[in-house]
């Protein structure tokens, strides 16, 4: 198995195309593992991993924890809502206290863009970014790419539309980096106030009509409206959003071909996705969740080899 070019997984931006393929190929093997009757391998038996979550998370933290346990790592969890600064202890002090208990790897979610980059320059442990504010969420992008590849094969030339709140989405940014590195075409779609002005500069298409995006794409990756990350008003109401940007099964059925429907969760049913769309045959949303564990196992395994 080849090695990664990086010591930390800070973002997709810092990965090479080769790194991405290495992670996805390794994840395939781990997907086999977690579907066996004995779901566990001893690969990280000597490794202690701390999941340090400064923002609320259910599925990502659970997914990491399961990935760690399937690899036989020792796992500790640390959660604190709000920033470390508000608690009176700096991020660096918090993490150094955890590392003093002989922890080898830090999986961190934090509300500040760049927090894992900052941390990786100050501590000896490997750092895995589990989401940093509105910046990146690399393991989500990797599991999305894995799920698309599983469904469609090689992603080169495939058309992926990311629909929803692009401005506040770390998933969108990591997906854009990942898909472009794999040769796919990317479109973002949403209300004008939720689309960053500068994305066309890196070759991302922009649409403000959901219908147009659905007709164009092979995969529609629908994002949650991140109301908690919007510090000021960007659109009038969820009602209007769901009326003009929400996706229903009828819209999918009216397309002249089958497309793949994805969502990183948690879904606001009835807002960005109607229930019948989310539960339709187009949807691979639960496959994404399953693949998340395999991809995270691959990331942790490969970083531990470094």
């Amino acid at each position: 198995m080849t090695k990664l070019s990086v010591r930390h997984l800070l973002g997709i931006k810092n990965l090479t195309e080769n790194d991405i393929h290495t992670i996805l190929d390794t994840a395939s093997q781990f997907k086999d593992v977690i579907n066996r009757p004995i779901k566990k391998v001893p690969s990280l038996r000597d490794i202690t991993i701390a999941n340090v979550f400064f923002e609320n998370s259910t599925r990502t933290r659970l997914s990491f924890e399961l990935a760690e346990k399937r690899l036989s790592a020792d796992v500790v969890n640390f959660s604190a809502s709000g920033s470390s600064v508000k608690k009176g202890e700096t991020l660096l002090d918090t993490v150094n206290n955890i590392l003093a208990m002989k922890v080898d790897m830090i999986v961190m979610r934090h509300s500040s863009p760049g927090a894992p980059h900052y941390l990786s320059g100050k501590i000896p442990a490997n750092v895995v970014n589990a989401g940093d504010g509105t910046h990146e969420h690399p393991t989500q992008a990797l599991l999305d790419a894995f799920s698309m590849r599983e469904k469609l094969g090689d992603l080169a030339g495939k058309k992926i539309a990311i629909i929803g709140d692009i401005l506040h989405s770390r998933v969108a940014l990591s997906n854009i980096f990942c898909l472009q590195k794999l040769g796919a075409e990317v479109m973002v779609c949403g209300p004008t106030t939720l689309i960053p002005k500068y994305l066309p500069e890196i070759g991302v298409r922009v649409s403000h009509q959901v219908k147009e995006a659905l007709e164009w794409c092979d995969v529609a990756n629908v994002l949650r409206i991140q109301l908690e990350r919007q510090q000021i008003k960007y659109f009038p109401s969820l009602r209007e959003y769901s009326l003009y940007f929400g996706i229903t099964k009828a819209m999918l059925d009216n397309l002249n071909r089958e497309i793949v429907l994805m969502h990183p969760g948690p879904i606001n049913r009835g807002v960005e996705l109607s229930s019948d769309a989310a539960d339709s045959s187009h949807s691979i949303i639960l496959n994404q969740v399953e693949n998340g564990v395999a991809v995270r196992m691959a990331v942790l395994y490969l970083l531990a080899q470094q």
Binding site: P113, H117, L173, Y198, I202
Partner: protein, 430 residues
């Protein structure tokens, strides 16, 4: 103080000895004699070894943090940093705690004068607590010695407050300093808005926020001039920290129309553009933020053609706890006093003579301070420097270390300062 400065090269366009290497005899804080091979009998001698000498430099934008945040910087340490940077005079912003918005705080800062070559001027706040709503007693503050008026780090948002300030200051011929920023457009902003901020997931501050406010400020200045008959010969409005190409163009146009406006740029704005932030280095987090390469070029052009009158350090000292943090929690600002000259030497495209003007005669004119010249009978207020000398910036005299230039090798070194009867001589770097 009786002192002989041996073999110094005079850099001063106003001096009859400009460009020449001379000896200078200083007696009782005045230049007693300029010549060659002057007698050193009974005098202390400083060997200049052909280093340059100019009238003492003035920095129009310095945050001292004293009173209130003395752990970041105080009135003594800021003087030390000023001397290292070659400044014999500095203008302090009013944004201390409490804000310099009354004679009490003004007098505190002014009474803390020390036996030092650095003369401290104070810009008083326009509004109480620099909060942008209720006026300070500006006539009283002006009489007490405030050199200009500004809310400093808090740009004036309210158009009518801005207008009335200009009107109220007009009979005193006092200067209003404002940094143009529309705070609604920069809300939660961390860096320049652009592709780089998008890729970093950081909220951007669009150049438009500066340019719109600048346009407003210039329009209000034009408006008050229509109400007064007396022509303004000196700038009535000084624009702080110009950072975008369009801002330079707007000021160039305003000056062509004869508006009494002046402006400045921070030396570090000539060095970095926003892609430098790709590493999330909090020492590069400044306001106004680093823009684009084209903006840097426009700033240099503005300096060369005189649109930009002067250069400041925008010295913003912070403690480690304010900078060794996640990027969006970190404070804005760089400690700049010690590196202005090197940055100008390396990045401005200006001749040494012009750099000296941007640091001496231009800020003095804007602030209505008496002109200085290296000529017999004039005040002995000097900066000594060597524009060709390379040095490594290893240690700061400031309490703060939030400079991206620490550890770097720079070109253009300050050798010493002399003012108010005190000399600090650093000589050559080792």
């Amino acid at each position: 103080m009786n002192l002989l400065l041996r073999s110094v090269q005079i850099i001063d366009k106003a001096s009859p000895w400009n460009g020449q290497i001379k000896d200078i005899r200083v007696e009782d804080n005045r230049i007693a004699e300029i010549g060659e091979n002057l007698s050193a009998a009974g005098m202390d001698v400083v060997e200049g070894n052909n280093c340059c000498i100019s009238p003492g430099w003035l920095d129009m934008r310095v945050a001292s943090r004293d009173p209130g945040f003395e752990h970041k910087e105080d009135l003594d340490s800021v003087r030390q940093a000023a001397m290292q940077g070659g400044f014999t005079e500095i203008v302090l912003l009013p944004n201390s705690q409490p804000v310099v918005d009354s004679k009490d705080t003004l007098n505190y800062v002014r009474q803390r004068r020390r036996q030092s070559p650095v003369c401290v001027h104070v810009a008083a706040a326009v509004t109480k607590h620099a909060a942008g709503t209720d006026f300070t007693e500006m006539i009283d503050l002006h009489t007490a010695g405030a050199v200009a008026f500004t809310d400093g780090d808090n740009p004036i948002q309210h158009a009518d407050i801005f207008l009335k300030t200009l009107l109220y200051l007009r009979p005193m011929n006092a200067l209003l300093i404002n940094r143009p920023e529309d705070k609604q457009l920069t809300l939660f902003g961390q860096m320049n808005e652009g592709l780089t901020s998008t890729l970093l997931g950081l909220k951007g501050m669009p150049p438009l926020a500066e340019e719109m406010m600048l346009t407003r400020d210039l329009n209000l200045l034009k408006y008050i001039l229509e109400q007064t008959t007396e022509p303004a010969t000196l700038p009535l409005l000084h624009i702080s920290l110009v950072s975008t190409a369009r801002s330079v163009e707007l000021i160039r146009e305003a000056k062509k129309q004869g508006l009494p406006v002046s402006c400045e740029v921070a030396a570090h704005q000539l060095v970095y553009h926003d892609e430098a932030l790709l590493t999330f280095d909090t020492n590069l987090k400044v306001n106004p933020p680093f823009r684009k390469v084209a903006d840097i070029q426009a700033l240099r052009d503005g300096l060369v053609d005189g649109t930009i009158d002067c250069v400041v350090s925008d010295h913003c000292p912070h403690d480690e706890e304010s900078k060794n943090l996640e990027f969006d929690h970190a404070e804005f600002g760089i400690t700049g006093l010690e590196t202005v000259f090197a940055l100008l030497t390396m990045h401005s495209g200006l001749s040494v003579e012009s750099i000296v003007e941007k640091l001496t005669s231009e800020p003095r004119r804007i602030l209505r301070l008496p002109a200085l010249s290296i000529a017999e009978g004039q005040t002995a207020n000097f900066t000594f420097f060597d524009p060709a000398k390379e040095w490594t910036y290893t240690k700061s005299a400031s309490k703060a270390i939030n400079s991206p230039f620490l550890g770097k090798t720079l070109k253009g070194h300050v050798s010493g300062v002399l003012n108010q009867g005190h000399i600090r001589w650093f000589g050559q770097p080792s």
